[in-house]
Amino acid sequence: MDNYEIRKIKDRLMQILVCLALLVALIPLFSILWEVILKGAPSINLNFLTQPTPTVGEVGGGAANAIQGTLIAVGLASLIGVPLGIVSGIFLSEYSEAKLSLAVRFFNDVLNGFPSIVIGIFGYTLIVLSIGFSVIAAAFALAIIMIPIVTRTTEEVLKLVPATVREAAIALGIPRWRTIISVVLSGARKGIATGILLSLARIAGESAPVLVTMGYWRWWFAGLDMPVANLALNVYIFAISPFESWRALAWGSSLVLILLILGANVIVRAFTKEKY
């Protein structure tokens, strides 16, 4: 067994490399969290949470309008995204083998990985060209991003509801559609909620589609046909600006975003772990 020692060394080496890979991936994560917390925390004060964005050169100000705007945009998006996503998910799980299902599932997956800026352009041509840069256009683009996520999680969660539940209901003479709405959906309530939460977290962080459908806005909400301020977009605008105070706002806004998004992810994880 001449090569045995070499094999052993290779084995040990690869074990180290593989674990190193884990470390290499986790370092950026911790670095980002660290920096955002370190540099963002000082910015979070009462002003930050209550004042709108300052004008050029003005010191102080906050992200209150951006928080408001983000909530509005995300809320509007979910008005379209959530119903469409859930009903699509229901179709995919209840009629899973149908040819239409295979096609829908396939293209939903395709849309899932799509560049959000292209979706933003879609919102631009469809809505901005008629109504102008507006929160409606942004919400439209965000809704499109939401739909595949909600669809997929709804489908997966519904599929987890055991067949026995459905069978029992049908045996009782309840029509299939009622079974699905009353019995199956309520059983999957939690899972669907977490899916929605995940998708909300995702679109709250989107800035590319917001950029091309709304652009920068520094005031409060001014109507559905007008833009609103957006937390994620502000991070971009402020980060590349030459003003120190604006850059501080960028970090502060990032901290708020990260807390919201990561918080949502942690909640979702806590829920899904329960299932196992």
Partner: protein, 311 residues
């Protein structure tokens, strides 16, 4: 007994099917709108757009996207070169080398990486990654490899390589998660066969990768899809310089997604907007092809792996 054609169940099926079919409308309409919006530019430049190397909105109003395409390709390639080995390592670590509980925790952390918004990557890129690379990494790189033109020239911190690095970090969650899934789906009987032959852990792991290799390819293509479409993070670190070729990896450059983000709101006249939309159209096709390919391969491989296992 006849079957009534319009039962409540049938209506339900129809309704839900209609909702589900909205995906086709969305994608179809998107394509239509992109083509419509690009009309001006397509009519003016034709195929020249794809090979044109001049982007001059101010004076001659000529637009050509080749450098953007090149920039996208190169940064994505770098992202894959760096990100894929790390991702495969993570996938293997999670499926072969770590005990279950620890694996859950680590998978969770890696998924958190995916949840960080692109702008925050960009922000971190500008103020943390770039200074770090500029001060601690690039000088050494240039000192050792500077004789290769790729590593020559002034270092300002951002640019092509930095763009590739940040993209690599961003694709790791996707590629590693899919890899982990395909590796875990490989039946234990395969591992046992290797172990009983007296294989080391690494040799067994290699067999697992080999068994799942089509899934790995799918994962890589998925990662490529993410890299190609990435916008904010890359536009914040790559320098946004339109040129046919950069002088080296340390020079600034541009990608398709970055130029749209950077110039869309500044596009003051129709042809300019149309040109940017056409860039978006190209991106649409690139993303479509990549994502379709990836899904087909991943689907097929997961079915294959699970199918063999089921027998």
């Amino acid at each position: 007994m006849f079957k009534k054609p319009l039962t409540s169940d049938n209506v339900f099926k129809l309704l839900t099917a209609a909702f589900a079919s909205s995906i086709f409308i969305i994608l179809g309409l998107m394509l239509y709108e992109l083509v419509k919006g690009s009309q001006l530019s397509i009519q003016r430049f034709g195929i020249e757009f794809l090979v044109g190397t001049k982007w001059d909105p101010a004076i001659s109003q000529i637009f050509g996207a080749l450098p953007l395409i090149l920039g996208t390709v190169v940064t994505s390639a770098i992202a894959l070169l760096i990100g894929v080995p790390i991702s495969l390592g993570i996938g293997l670590a999670l499926s072969e080398y770590t005990p279950r509980r620890l694996g859950f925790a680590i998978s969770f952390l890696v998924e958190l990486l995916a949840a960080v918004p692109s702008v925050i990557y960009g922000l971190w890129g500008i103020f943390t990654l770039i200074p770090f690379l500029r001060n601690n990494v690039y000088p050494y790189l240039q000192a050792t490899l500077g004789f290769i033109p790729l590593f020559s020239g002034p270092i300002y911190g951002g640019g092509v390589l930095t763009g590739g690095i940040i993209l690599a970090i961003m694709i790791i969650p996707t590629v590693s998660a899919v890899s982990r899934d395909v590796f875990s789906a490989v039946p234990d009987t395969q591992r046992e066969a290797m172990i009983s032959l007296g294989a080391t852990k690494w040799e067994t792991a290699k067999t697992v990768v080999s068994y799942a290799r089509s899934g790995v390819i799918g994962a890589i293509i998925l990662g490529l899809g993410r890299a190609v479409g990435e916008t904010m993070a890359i536009t914040m670190v790559i320098g946004n310089k339109f040129q046919v070729l950069p002088y080296s990896l340390f020079d600034a450059w541009y990608t398709m997604a970055a130029i749209i983000a950077n110039e869309f709101t500044e596009a003051t006249y129709d042809l300019y907007v149309s040109a940017l939309i056409e860039v978006g159209l190209v991106l649409f096709f690139v993303a479509l092809i990549i994502n379709v390919l990836a899904r087909v391969i991943v689907w097929r491989s997961l079915r294959l792996v699970r199918g063999v296992a089921r027998e």
